[in-house]
């Protein structure tokens, strides 16, 4: 069978609502990833580190939450890793690595940076002079995210 109105509702969804849902789900996924990585998946250990009650921490991990920047900052400090990264207009001198993520369901491919810094699929650049020393990257780069606090 096919859904009746699902795709119509998705199409008429305002762009900001769609972006908000994606953002909230990204944050949720990141929190669960960091909890596993840093605290063995145990909310109790995170609560102890933050000096919060287990109930309060548990709330953050139930369903999809709207976090304030203050809570996200506190969580970042507790994890010792960023949860979200802001694209700064100048190079971040504290960044110690660049992170490129593969969006869901996208195939990995090779990209090259041309002499003015634009990204192209490998086959589109032919002249040696047009190509900067190439990097291995991914299709549809969603952001080069500077990460980790110095």
């Amino acid at each position: 069978m096919k859904s009746k109105r699902f795709n119509a509702v998705i199409s008429e969804t305002p762009a900001e609502v769609r972006a908000h849902i994606k953002f909230c789900m990204d944050v949720t996924d990141r929190l669960h990833e960091l909890l596993l990585l840093k605290f063995d998946g145990k909310q109790k250990l995170l609560a102890e580190k933050m000096g919060k009650s287990e109930a309060e921490v548990s709330k953050w991990f139930s369903g999809i939450q709207n976090f304030t920047t203050k809570t996200l900052t506190k969580l970042s400090v507790a994890f010792g890793e960023p949860i979200i990264v802001v694209c700064t207009h100048e190079a971040d001198e504290h960044a110690i690595f660049e992170q490129v993520k593969v969006p869901y369901s996208k195939k990995a491919t090779e990209l090259q940076i041309d002499i003015i810094g634009r990204l192209h699929p490998v086959e589109k650049l032919h002249k040696e002079s047009e190509i900067m020393p190439y990097i291995k990257s991914i299709e549809h780069v969603i952001g080069l995210q500077s990460s980790k606090y110095a």
Binding site: M1, V9, R18
Partner: protein, 161 residues
């Protein structure tokens, strides 16, 4: 009563197979019935709900995206903004059954008007149905009547409730 599971083809092209059910004696599927409902005062909420489902198609149906009410898995995402502006009710509930990251059954739902779903005239029957089917499905999985790791294994599957 016989319950037939059916794959929702156009929603199942990503990482998740979404199913719905048809109850014996009814002409429409449960999720179709939900889609036909009009929620004029909850439009923003419906957008959020459908977009969470849409994102799941790309990410997989992670357990953390679901709100659990006993063994019925309602699936609402309601932002604080909407929660704060809505003083009348508890918002839309679409009841569903989470099987694993690749399989979800979408059932029916409505506006929840009471904190306890059993006390709400609108969602009570959907909540009860989700619980009953969830329990029988759990048993069928344990008894290996369905292999949940196999693609489309729930399509055309029948149970008695």
């Amino acid at each position: 009563m016989l319950v037939l599971f059916e794959l929702i083809d156009d929603l199942s092209e990503g990482k998740v197979e979404f199913y719905t059910i048809k109850l014996e004696g009814k002409n429409v599927y449960e999720f179709e019935e939900f889609e036909d409902k009009d929620f004029p005062d909850h439009k923003a909420e419906l957008y959020e709900l459908y977009n969470v489902i849409d994102e799941m198609r790309l990410r997989g149906a992670k357990k953390r995206y679901f709100k659990f009410e006993e063994n019925a898995h309602a699936m609402p995402y309601v932002s604080n903004e909407i929660k704060e502006s809505n003083k009348k009710d508890w918002g839309i509930r679409l009841y569903c059954i989470f099987i694993n990251e690749g399989k979800v059954v979408l059932l029916n739902g409505d506006i929840k008007t009471h904190r306890n779903p059993r006390m709400c005239e609108l969602v009570r029957k959907h909540f009860d149905l989700a619980r009953r089917i969830g329990t029988i499905l759990d048993k069928a999985i344990l008894d290996k009547e369905i292999n949940i790791l196999e693609p489309r294994s729930l399509d055309q599957f029948e149970i008695m409730i």
